[in-house]
Subunit: 243 residues, 2 copies
């Protein structure tokens, strides 16, 4: 959408402000159509039966007061949070491959539970699918605002998208997206700031000196190993976010 803004800006310079309203309407329609197409593409191509199963399971579990929800994709799904943190109120709401559109679709289950805390880590799969940064950020803002509206007492933590490591060979669509990761993280940080959420920058904990996902903490350049999860847990504990 940044590119679209630049194009719009240049057209405005050329045509003057008189056509601004028309151009703005066209721009909004194009953006909405693009987001809808991506949503549809995700619906039709992505969600395997196991995704639907997971959502149905989440809906089948009972909510408890004081739930601490971890919401995201495979990186969140890949640990037993209650075992990792020794915290029975932890709830894993990670689904492998998920993107911001998916989280928006299944967000009501999270909101209904009115958790005491919500940790969000989502976006790397959006980036791997070349969903524009602006769309990811807009979706992210919707997620945070919907939680705030539906469960105002929930303390929201937005976590920065982790770096990847291209020296592994498995997730080619996820590697070499540093600029997008940085841009989306900047957006997430701004959302946290304007919506009263807490931004957790995971970068210093997980990046090596070159800014890549530390090879000692991953087995495929995208997902975390046991040591990676331990570091994550240590960070959340040391910052007092779990109290």
């Amino acid at each position: 959408m940044q590119k679209q803004f630049i194009i719009l800006h240049n057209i405005l310079k050329l045509t003057g402000m008189k056509n601004f309203i028309h151009l703005f309407i066209v721009f909004c329609l194009v953006s909405t159509a693009k987001a809808q197409t991506q949503q549809e593409a995700w619906d039709s191509t992505y969600r395997p039966a196991s995704y639907t199963l997971k959502v149905a399971q989440f809906e089948s579990y009972e909510h408890s007061p004081g739930d601490v929800v971890f919401l995201g994709n495979s990186i969140t799904a890949g640990t037993d949070w209650y075992e990792l943190l020794q915290m029975p109120q932890a709830r894993n709401r990670g689904i492998s491959g998920d993107i911001t559109f998916g989280v928006l679709q299944r967000l009501d289950e999270v909101i209904k539970g009115k958790p005491s805390k919500l940790f969000i880590l989502i976006g790397i799969n959006d980036i791997s699918r070349n969903i524009p940064d602006s769309v990811i950020i807009a979706n992210y803002a919707k997620i945070v605002r919907r939680v705030k509206a539906g469960s105002p007492k929930t303390k929201i933590f937005t976590e920065s998208i982790l770096p990847t490591n291209r020296s592994f060979d498995k997730f080619k669509n996820h590697y070499n997206k540093e600029a997008h990761i940085a841009a989306v993280n900047q957006g997430i940080q701004k959302i946290a700031s304007s919506e009263g959420a807490t931004y957790i920058d995971l970068h210093p904990t997980f990046a090596d000196s070159a800014g890549n996902l530390d090879a000692r903490l991953t087995y495929d350049g995208l997902h975390l190993n046991a040591e990676g999860y331990k570091r994550w847990a240590a960070l959340l504990k040391s910052k007092g976010y779990l109290k």
Copy 2:
């Protein structure tokens, strides 16, 4: 191994008992070599990085007195047992694709935790790989005996291998193995009986009138959906196995 027994039996009839000792030694050597080859085949072809990750994670978690461990493959891995049962001491030790050889390799982690209860459901992936029933049953017996020896106070529950449903299309190697499922289940039941474990027959809960996995409880003819897990939980509760 059943076939080998029949061949052995016929040879004995022809040769008389005088060569019995020699034949028995050859038979034992062949069986051991076969099991070793299968173990090696599994080691080299099966275990993806994510398997190793899971084992490392299990080893990184703290054990607690009174742990209730669910040990198995993707069918066990596919639910949050602590949420499903509302039981904080539940521990998920399921790994997708696992077989009896894998369970044997990672069993020490379970034994070390000295859980109060252990629920085992393993074998369908062994069957899908055409590992002989006798090898699966022998491995199963080793699993139960090693747990008994290493953690004598653990109450062991051996669960029958679930039926599959071939009307789905995804797991062709798992379908149409009814005879093997029945044979291995018979073996598991005998092990439970001789080793003082509790055999849980899941068949009446999950099979339709034709003996297949009830299509309402699965999304692919092998794995369970939310309704399937609910039934499983209800069965364990109603029988008082979780108390």
